[in-house]
């Protein structure tokens, strides 16, 4: 089996590909409430369809063989060319079945839309081409969603640019994220493990790389351990790590670090170089990076549109944080 080269991932460079867990033939494993209902309805429709389909195809082939044109059978046999009661029967029977399908579908739909009161809140921010999840206690994780088994969660989702869609096949849940408004969805995971989250609404070049992993933990403590980031500790010991974390949370959607151009220019290997900008060239140093973060319009890298698609992070990142980012970009100098 081939693996996606790590460098192709838009975000966290080492997002592992979780092992695919099989469910019934057509499905991945049922890992959330509602999945069983969904699969049941799917199979029900499938069997109904199969019934009709087989009936139709078998009859068709049988007629084609039985009444094939051959010596001795050069003319259609006498038979009537309409039969109102037959017409009514074959309109009414499917109609009744369809009413049931509609009803079952609508029922399941409401279950999948209305979150229970007890649900915890998680906020989802989607942007080209990455996900950020913010938990009620203020922690954020990039590209990784951490849940607790059997604990319902309500997601409040917003997009920073274009349409995206929050899709977890194992949970059978999907909801588009529309810029300019909130959309919501909820899940109640019932299985411990790691699953894929995809962006299911086309959002631009790296749409197919806008994926994340959903890890369902056994306990709240496990989850906390996975989402917590000890900024103060790393600030003392390894500020580059802090920078990397911030980068993943804020910048990785637009800047790759593998030399590939994305919405913005790649940020590896620029430190200390002369960078072509519209007004000539600039040396990439602390001052330039700080300026790029706080006032992206001051210099536009050649080949990019004016005004910069990058928004100012003024007021959103403090001096320490900018410093960490600078450390991080510096650490990428010769990658």
């Amino acid at each position: 089996m081939l693996k996606i080269p790590v460098s192709l991932l838009a975000q966290a460079e080492d997002l592992p590909i979780p092992e695919y867990q099989w469910g019934d033939y057509f499905f991945p494993v049922q890992a959330a409430e509602g999945a069983a209902e969904n699969d049941f309805l799917f199979w029900a429709i499938l069997w109904i369809s199969t019934l009709f389909f087989v009936l139709i195809v078998v009859l068709m082939l049988y007629f084609a063989w039985k009444y094939r044109r051959r010596p001795g059978h050069e003319k259609a046999l006498p038979s009537s060319s309409h039969n109102t009661s037959l017409e009514i029967i074959w309109s009414v029977i499917p109609s009744i079945i369809l009413v049931w399908i509609f009803y079952a579908g609508a029922n399941g739909y409401f279950q999948s839309r209305v979150a229970p009161e007890s649900a915890e809140d998680i906020w989802v921010t989607a942007q080209q081409f990455s996900w950020t999840f913010t938990y009620a206690d203020g922690d954020s994780t990039p590209s990784e969603l951490h849940l607790v088994v059997n604990r319902p969660v309500k997601f409040t989702m917003e997009s920073r640019d274009v349409l995206h869609s929050f899709f977890i096949p194992a949970f059978r849940q999907k909801q588009d994220i529309v810029p300019g408004r909130y959309t919501y969805t909820w899940v109640k995971p019932t299985k411990i493990g790691t699953f894929r989250l995809y962006c299911a609404e086309y959002c631009g070049d790296n749409h197919s790389l806008m994926i994340a992993n959903v890890t369902v933990h056994a306990t709240e403590e496990d989850r906390k351990a996975a989402t917590k980031w000890d900024w103060d500790l790393y600030a003392q010991t390894d500020p580059v790590k802090n920078g990397q974390r911030l980068f993943q949370l804020n910048c990785a959607g637009c800047h790759k670090i593998d030399g590939q151009r994305s919405t913005g220019p790649p940020l590896n290997g620029i430190w200390g170089k002369q960078e072509p900008v519209l007004s000539g060239t600039r040396l990439v140093d602390e001052e330039y990076i700080r300026e790029s973060i706080l006032n992206p319009n001051a210099e536009i890298v050649s080949g990019y549109t004016t005004p910069s698609q990058m928004q100012s992070f003024d007021g959103k990142l403090n001096d320490d944080q900018i410093m960490w980012l600078i450390f991080y970009i510096k650490s990428l100098a010769d990658k």
């Binding site: 920073r160 810029p179 300019g180 005004p307 928004q311 100012s312 003024d314 007021g315 959103k316």
Partner: protein, 338 residues
């Protein structure tokens, strides 16, 4: 507009204008008639998109519409309505005349219709240019600043008027040319065209003087509504998205009140987006109508119409009435809001 002339055949200049694939004049007429009605259906649905946008935004932001309509002048709009209604009357008379084979009357009536259409456009040009002067553009470029009102004739108006001016001279010259070479028929046609373009100037000049004299109050009330919140008008890039707005909101000045008023200010731009789309598309239809009418005018001068062949006049007439119909709805929707 192909439907209007898809069904006649120029080869038969003298005989009946029946294309070879029709059995009778009546079949041809019926086909054309159904064709034009179906075409009108597509036109109605074409405008529906805009009406839909209008209804939604009016429903969701009634306050914007109340604000915005102060910038529209009821008298100019109403006057234009009457001009269009009158053109519809003359069009109906033209159709009637064509059914009776009175080609001269058709020509006159169609000419009057065209002149009215041009007057309408002239007035519209005054309205548009006035708005542009004070920075009323579509949503993203909306930057209202009434102090920008120029003293003399608006440069925008001058710009818009260049094309009609050129046409006026070209058509006039053609008319004179043919007059002196004694091709009276052609002279009459180009003369008509000259008159038609002159209509634009009647409308524009009339509108201009109206604005000079009485039109001042139309926007002065409106000015008061938003006057204090203009600090964002210049220098501030209207293209910020909500994320950025929230960023600027975090700055000390930010308060809920300020946020609201500024939004209102910008959102008025939405009204004008819809306004420009609707009236702009309508104006394009008026121009298209003029072209079709010119063709009818030409053929009337040739004396083509008879009681068993008047389809094209009828079809163009229906089209023209539809353009009028749409305006009948646009006028109260855009100008009369309280």
């Amino acid at each position: 507009m192909t439907s209007e002339h898809g069904d006649h055949h120029d080869d038969h200049e003298h005989g009946e204008f029946i294309a070879h694939h029709f059995e009778s004049a009546e079949q041809q007429f019926d086909a054309g008639k159904l064709g034009i009605w179906a075409f009108l259906v597509t036109e109605v649905l074409f405008f529906t998109g805009l009406f839909c946008a209008y209804v939604l935004y009016r429903f969701h932001h009634p306050e914007i519409f109340v604000q915005a309509h102060h910038f529209l002048d009821k008298i100019l709009g109403g006057g234009n309505t009457i001009v269009l209604l009158f053109s519809s009357l003359t069009m109906a008379l033209a159709v009637r005349a064509s059914q009776l084979g009175q080609n001269r009357t058709v020509a006159t009536m169609v000419l009057v219709t065209m002149v009215c259409a041009s007057i309408f456009l002239g007035v519209k040009a005054v309205e548009y240019s006035h708005k542009w002067d004070i920075g009323i553009f579509v949503r993203a470029h909306f930057s209202l600043d009434e102090s920008h009102h120029p003293k003399g004739i608006s440069p925008y108006l001058t710009m818009i008027s260049i094309i009609p001016l050129i046409l006026l001279f070209v058509f006039g010259a053609m008319a004179l040319l043919y007059r002196f070479t004694n091709s009276l028929f052609r002279a009459a046609f180009w003369g008509g065209m000259t008159l038609m373009v002159a209509g634009y100037f009647i409308g524009a000049i009339g509108g201009y003087f109206y604005m000079k004299v009485g039109g001042g109050d139309a926007h002065s009330t409106a000015g008061k509504v938003i006057e204090h919140h203009d600090d964002h008008a210049d220098g501030h890039d209207p293209g910020d998205d909500h994320a950025q707005e929230s960023a600027s909101e975090s700055q000390p000045a930010g308060g809920a009140h300020d946020h609201e008023t500024r939004d209102l200010h910008h959102d008025i731009g939405i009204f004008f987006s819809i306004y420009y789309c609707m009236t702009g598309l309508h104006a394009i239809h008026v121009v298209g109508g003029i072209v079709a009418l010119a063709w009818i005018f030409y053929r009337s001068l040739l004396g083509h119409w008879r009681s068993d062949y008047f389809g094209p006049v009828d079809y163009v007439g229906l089209y023209w009435h539809l353009v009028d119909l749409i305006w009948i709805f646009l006028f109260p929707l855009l100008y009369l809001i309280n």
